[in-house]
Symmetry: C2
Subunit: 103 residues, 2 copies
DNA sequence: GTAATATATCAATAAACATTGATACAATAG
DNA sequence: CTATTGTATCAATGTTTATTGATATATTAC
């Protein structure tokens, strides 16, 4: 049944999910981190040194990306390695297409 | 030539362009407006009545969408009709794919 | 145990942004 | 002209969010 209240066939739940995803990635530093991680798994120090970001700021943005499940953390000794969660990103990209492009 | 400073082959200019696009669409009301306009051209009063948004707030969000060139305005008497700028949206979606998914 | 390194958290500040109410502008009707 | 309707702008407010500096936690080396 069509959702007449919002005048849009997209369910509110999906719309909110997309919005939260977009809020997470609509930040220059987080976009740079995501781009950098396309090269493969990297530890926090590699990220913050390569991107010229303060350590605590990098950690903060990684937390936001982690909570959004866009990246996955893995501890190895002192280091914590981050990698992209490709499946989640693909899934949210599908949602983006559905809401923005889809009929 | 690779941009070593940001550790990412994506140029800063593209990254900023994508970020600005994402900031514009990472808002619930603007997403609803974009979804609603998928049905075709609509005037401001139709938008704000259908989406249950105050008129001035609707106008404000439309301005942001207009400045981002995601929608196009057309005056017809007292009414101003808004429609999606499909080409711009397709173009920015391509950029999204390039930055987020592309190698 | 202590020192050193890697990462995370906390508190404070500042900037960006959404929302609201009031008002202005533009077009039409009378 | 005035009144009405549709839309935009402005100023004020409150909320969210990015950033910074200081500190805490965790792991390893000694």
């Amino acid at each position: 049944m069509e959702n007449l209240q919002v005048g849009c066939k997209i369910e509110t739940k999906k719309l909110i999910e997309l919005m939260e995803y977009l809020k997470v990635i609509s930040d220059e530093n987080r976009l740079r981190i995501l781009c950098f991680l396309k090269h493969g798994e990297r530890c926090v120090c590699e990220i913050h040194e390569t991107l010229n970001l303060p350590q605590n700021l990098t950690s903060h943005h990684l937390k936001i990306l982690r909570e959004a499940e866009l990246v996955i953390a893995r501890r190895e000794g002192k280091w914590i390695h981050y990698r992209l969660n490709d499946e989640k990103i693909r899934c949210l990209t599908k949602l983006y297409k559905e809401v923005i492009l889809g009929g």
